[in-house]
Symmetry: D2
Subunit: 214 residues, 4 copies
């Protein structure tokens, strides 16, 4: 049994729900075999989100952490490759804070790569008949901050902790009149189950195409 | 009980399945109350598709016909507004035919508007929490041909027959590695159920925004 | 010498300029050989736009009319195939009017096809190294109204008058921070010159792929 | 006079030209005041591109290097924020090599931030009436490799050397029938001139919104 922590986020940017947290809850309601699952819902607030992540890690002592956030506009489940050491908010967070080009960890490395088998996770979701791809950027908002802070925690305080970040599309009910792609929460949850099992089972990645020319 | 005929299409363009037909079948497996439902799967072949539509109308004598086709790349359920009197194939049909700028009905009107409460159908799907919009073009391929032929049949031979066309997105399993929007068959089927009930219940449309600046 | 009338539009939807009119002016400043060019700038107002079009046709007695409008978001020059008999405004016009699902000409045909060699125009623009395609919908706003009214005028009062509609992208200065495609006015003007010459030179179209599956 | 090296790339991915190099050449033909400009055209080949970059830096001893590459599909000029230490080729390079998930510099940092005033460059291009934005990813192909290698060179061997990467859209002649955004070479060249002057004039950036939520 691998101890796995899944985190989602509260709603932000004017939305009433956040499909990341809804999908994490759905996984918790029906967890995959072979993992001992815990969950946490993080505030969409710079700094506070990281504090909540650290508290959840303290509480649950996971071996694997997969943080999940909403990427409105993306059509598929995206497994993030890299977290960068910068907060640069296009919109205010849920307290109204809007940092511009500030380091998440002053003096920290410019970036961390995910400690997930990114390509294997993408391949497993696809093999389950669901759409997925590698993402080359997690943005510069709270999602990226949590992702960076998670990898920094693993690198500096929690050797052996593995983890990464998964972005999920809007749910249909968020975009009924918006001409935006969406996937139902149940579909997103199933993809998260597949990613959880895949990441718990292996640390090494597969060789598969998944880059971007730009 | 309104007699309703739903039609889908066989796969085309290299795809193994067609979500339009899969969703129509799912509606037939679990039909909404208040309608007497029949279905037909049309070939994706210019001319033959119209023959199959006419045969299905003869057989089932419907009061309402909703033809359904795949619109790969669209993120939502789209209710078509207008069918135009032209076949102009971007790709070959399933027999390899590729007509260019030929009228569907020589001497027929340039276009027919759907005899569906288009805006009411869109509003009802949205009210059910699913994404939908009005589409201003059904293209110039077999879908549009069937749509035009249906409306021409109603206008010339079957007074009182109402009908229209609905385009549906890819299913997730078609686009696992394609970065395209998709909706599960069950979601699409639920939207078709809502449209069927709405169109069966009313002929007049509501006043609602749904146009396009271009 | 073919007498050609080019029309553009005043700005709308909050924009300060309209690339359609700017490009038409640029063509007038440097017109192609072989045509006698006149121009008109139409108000972006339902009804008034048609009145202004009719007045310009009365004044200039053209053999060919090409109306031009902005299609913000499209990446290329699009030659419209068909005008439909409906006003359905997604946003208010420049007087605040927002008609919903009203016929442009009560009792008029559902649609008119352009009387332009649409495919030949697209091919000629491409041969000039500029991006172009056929569009299957001119929308349901003032552009479509003018297009429909032009074709109705030709069909009912001005036999022999040919014409059609061309949509053009944003100009770069409109989208400096908007992540939208654009083409400079000079590029759009050059495409309009090519279309003008092509449409003046031939009535019959070429056989070329240019349809849409949906 | 600031010594500035601009680099472009040879064509790749089946294209006959590369707008990055064409635009760099256009800048060299008509350079901005206040800079001493040199240029280099890099092969679109992993490893060889870096060798060519290093050779050009050796030869010209620049104070500022701006590498430029094509980002087909993007509608605007994008100033890259961060280079990551990974080669992950979606398509083969011009020798057929297709590395998957290999570090550019084994043991090197996961990423480098651009040493350009990224936001000031974007603001200056916009102020010139041209479309620009910050990009959060330069991809994982040869462009990113060159960008990473440039920043690594500055960090390890050439203290004081500043530099970064700019991605540019397709040119119109590349996409005449492709429904993709484009900007003429002259427009792209003007944007590069503005970026060159802005980056030569200041090292510190401005505070301006330019992040991404994902």
């Amino acid at each position: 049994m691998t101890r796995v922590l899944l985190t989602g986020f509260e709603p932000f940017g004017g939305d009433a729900t956040n499909p990341a947290w809804e999908a994490v809850r759905a996984v918790a309601d029906n967890p995959p075999d072979g993992v001992e699952l815990s969950t946490a819902c993080l505030p969409c607030v710079f700094g506070d989100a990281v504090d909540a992540l650290r508290a959840a890690v303290e509480r649950h002592d996971p071996e694997l952490v997969i943080s999940v956030g909403q990427a409105g506009g993306r059509p598929d489940i995206t497994v993030e490759r890299v977290a960068v050491n910068i907060d640069d908010a296009r919109i205010p967070d849920n307290t109204g804070a809007q940092p511009i080009d500030e380091p998440i960890v002053p003096g920290g490395p410019a970036a961390y790569f995910a400690e997930l088998p990114v390509k294997a996770c993408v391949a497993a979701v696809r093999a389950a008949g669901l759409p997925a791809s590698v993402s080359q950027t997690a943005g510069t908002f709270v999602c990226n901050e949590v992702f960076y802070a998670l990898m920094h925690l693993a690198a500096t305080e929690r050797p052996g902790l593995r983890g990464g970040f998964v972005h999920v599309p809007f749910a249909p009910e968020q975009v009924t009149d918006k001409l935006q792609p969406s996937l139902p929460i149940a579909v997103t949850a199933e993809a998260l189950r597949v990613i959880t099992v895949t990441a718990a089972a292996r640390a090494a990645d597969i060789k598969a195409v998944g880059g971007a020319t730009h």
